[in-house]
Amino acid sequence: MRRFADLFERLDRTTSTNARLDAMAAYFRETPPEDAAWGVYFLIGEKLKRLVKSADLRRWAMREAGIEEWLFRECRASVGDMAETIALLLPERAHDPEPSPEPVLLLETLGEDADAPSERDLSLSRWVERLSVLRHLEPREQERRVVSWWRELSAREVFILNKLMTGALRVGVSRTLVVRALARAFNIEKERVAHRLMGGFEPTPDAFCRLIAPEGSAEDRNVSRPYPFFLASPIAATSDQEADVESLGDAREYLAEWKWDGIRAQLIKRAGEAGGSLTLWSRGDEDLTLRFPEVTAAAARTPGAFVLDGELVAYDHDAQRPHPFGVLQTRIGRTNVHERALREAPGVFIAYDVLELDAADLRSRALVERRRLLEDLLHAHAGDRRAITVSECVVATSWEALRERRASSRSRGVEGLMLKRLDSPYRVGRVRGDWWKWKVEPLTIDAVLTYAQPGSGRRANLLTDYTFSVWRNEPGGELVTITKAYSGLNAKEIETLDKWIRQHTLERFGPVRRVEPTHVFEIGFEAIGVSDRHKAGLALRFPRMLRWRTDKNPHDADTLASVLELLPSRGADAPPAQTVQEADALHPLPEKTEDSRTL
């Protein structure tokens, strides 16, 4: 594990992309496949299935460090990371040796041979084996083993070990960067590595060897493997913060489609042994096949072999628009799909593109041609209330006309428009130039900052998890919490606000501070719905801070009544006043943040 811990340290010690690529490439080249496979797995952000309860881990660490729970919590809030908190709290241990010098360097003069694995240094794969056993042990035995490891490893290794036990590594390298490092290490096209990494990576030596196999090997034919997704870029803004669509050229060179708010996915139906394969893969590399049987059944009925790119939504057939994202969420994570779920939240795959047809890779063909093939494929098998449809083209010949159509987005339950060059191939990843997203302006409210608590990760020890409130009735009366938001402020604003919060804290509940209701922020969000998550009885989708309204005083903030105006239909959906009151009593404090949130 020392080699992996060294890699981690090296990645952590530089902000240079090139240095990170070099460090990873060297690691992949020099590490035996059984370990390199796990290296890839952890670096792309995968984690081991839960091995121990995190409450247990905390208890063992508290015992080992000899501190009380309240003090552990204070530390955890300040450090912003469970694995690191434990590593820092455990009793004193030997100072880590410097990681071995980078391969490009020959630092003979500095001489320590930190790379030579010591007698006691176990390889990464052996550590994973050791860890995997934990799951099946009694808590007492789990504790005995974990504590003995804590005692024998160096601080840096303890940190890595804790990371492997508690969740993702988060060393600031993206999947794309890992792909580039593999491509660099073994001299393969990065698009090919990206493709080979799709569809879930099994951390086995075989899988690693397939990942780095020479071009054109048998490895590149796998019946259930999706293609890397082509992602659209946001359009550059003009000086007045409007998307500068005119800069994209002639509107007639683009295909415009609605930007659906669902889960981007690939529907794969391929011929092969044992009847071939039928798979639904999300962009997050999750296998959704069993979760949306209505979609896979429809794909099975559609003749031919194909790979479609599209959006999975829960569709309201009566209203002829998608349900809000929250409804789709009730279907995710459920493999045992009941009749009621199929009726109330039917899944529909809205196909954007066809990437492969009867075993031929179409990605290099022009979009306009792929689109025609897609329509031929699906229209031939049209039926009412189908679980697979073709995404509608928004026909217009000028930006002005498109702008008008885009204005209807919210009433259609979509996020705006997608603009795709008619002649564009289907590229890999987020490549600027061909595909653009033209999102609708967010909904906004003005809300007052009322609570704050420290952030995680790189916002450790900074008060950056904010809770906002609006007036329940008249301004100056009672404030009710409506949303949390974390993003949108720049580093300088964060620092200023942090300082202000510390000086204007009215009350503290552990790490949470209630602050003077002074600062007003314009909160932007994509949609609003009824929920008991916050006192206001509402939930905002993708809330973020658009502006710090230093020009406004708290009395200018919105009232609950003015926010309710934004609800899509002020009918049965709107929360009766009574419900809001009750939700209040249940939530005396703003909600806790989950450890898992990435920043």
Partner: protein
């Protein structure tokens, strides 16, 4: 015996001693000010008269101005203010930093320690534990996760970092607080001068301003050159820029990301680091976007705070700055009479 009023307590202007009619480190101008050290948030100009440790006179003078009326007092020498007896004792924080000991006519002793540390620092006299009835302690790093490594080990890492970057043809920019930390680093580097790629370091003007005060105090620092001085020994490179390849530059954190940094060439050729206790936390280090973080602090870590309070053996502890609530609660659980010293400013600046 009725409880006597607190010898030191916070009012609008700072930490006030009623019997002595003076303030310790007042944040607004007062008549009489006793200064623990010369950092800007402790030594503010505008007061009528100042007292400070003799070793800190040079720095205090630079901070408070030529016209300020300052009385330097040698460490340990008592002097009377009002009806109390005051003396200053080394705090180990920066050159001339002092704990303020105040003794009432009834013999009650309070010590306001100001900022302090117990770790080795060649630029200032080491902290002396002073027996007292009440101890006012800082709590900047008062969480058990703060357990700092030996400064010697960290200094060796800094030397190694400089050497590696010199071999790779890169420039090292080490950010550090301009008063105290910069000179401590320069003194430690001077002690390791045989191992350094260069016999001097470049410094930002604000850092250099304070170095003479150290020379006056007889402290050997690695020689420095001001970046802003045009120096014939530092030739221009092909792009007409001065070539800092292989050199170390010390600069205050405020210079990070500023146009001032451009002179050192493209970011890909510059390795940046920050020397501070805050670098102990990975998230803080990553947020600041430095390549490296060196954990070296002028404040006591958790272990040293707890050890110091034990050694002093006082009944009562008042904690201020940073995690004062946490420290006070912890000490109460250990059976001490501990509380937070409420100040209007909860400073948790990252200058540690």
């Amino acid at each position: 015996m009725p409880a006597s009023p607190d010898l030191l307590r916070v009012d609008d202007l700072g930490l006030r001693c009623e019997l002595g009619s003076f303030h310790v480190d007042p944040w607004r101008p007062v008549e009489h000010a006793v200064i623990t050290h010369a950092h800007a948030d402790h030594a503010r100009p505008g007061s009528g008269r100042y007292w400070c440790a003799e070793a800190g006179l040079g720095l205090a003078r630079r901070r408070l101005g030529a016209k300020a009326e300052i009385t330097p007092i040698p460490y340990g020498q008592p002097f009377d203010l009002g009806s109390v007896r005051v003396s200053l004792h080394p705090a180990g924080h920066v050159l001339g930093s002092a704990q303020v000991r105040v003794e009432s006519p009834a013999g009650e002793v309070w010590v306001a320690a100001g900022d302090y540390k117990r770790a080795h620092d060649p630029t200032c006299a080491p902290f002396e534990p002073i027996p007292c009835d009440a101890f006012i302690t800082e709590a900047t790093f008062a969480l058990p996760v703060y357990r700092f490594p030996e400064p010697g080990i960290v200094m060796d890492e800094i030397v190694r970092w400089w050497r590696e970057n010199a071999e790779r043809g890169r420039v090292c920019v080490l950010f550090c607080y301009a008063l105290g930390k910069a000179q401590r680093l320069l003194a430690e580097l001077h002690a390791r001068r045989e191992q350094l790629p260069q016999a001097f370091a470049w410094v930002h003007g604000s850092t250099n301003l304070l170095n003479p005060a150290y020379a006056e105090g007889g402290i050997d620092l690695l020689p420095t050159r001001r970046v802003s001085d045009r120096d014939a020994n530092n030739p221009k490179d092909a792009h007409g820029k001065r070539d800092y390849t292989g050199h170390l530059v010390l600069a205050p954190p405020s210079a990070a990301g500023s146009t001032w940094m451009r002179r050192f060439g493209p970011a890909s050729r510059v390795d940046t680091a920050f020397a501070s206790g805050w670098m102990h936390i990975r998230g803080v280090r990553r947020r600041r976007g430095y390549d490296r973080g060196f954990v070296i602090s002028d404040h006591a870590d958790w272990a040293d705070l707890v050890r110091t309070i034990e050694e002093i053996g006082c009944r009562r502890v008042l904690a201020t700055h940073g995690s004062s609530r946490t420290l006070a609660r912890y000490l109460r659980e250990q059976g001490l009479d501990a509380s937070e010293l409420e100040t209007p400013y909860e400073t948790e600046g990252e200058d540690g």
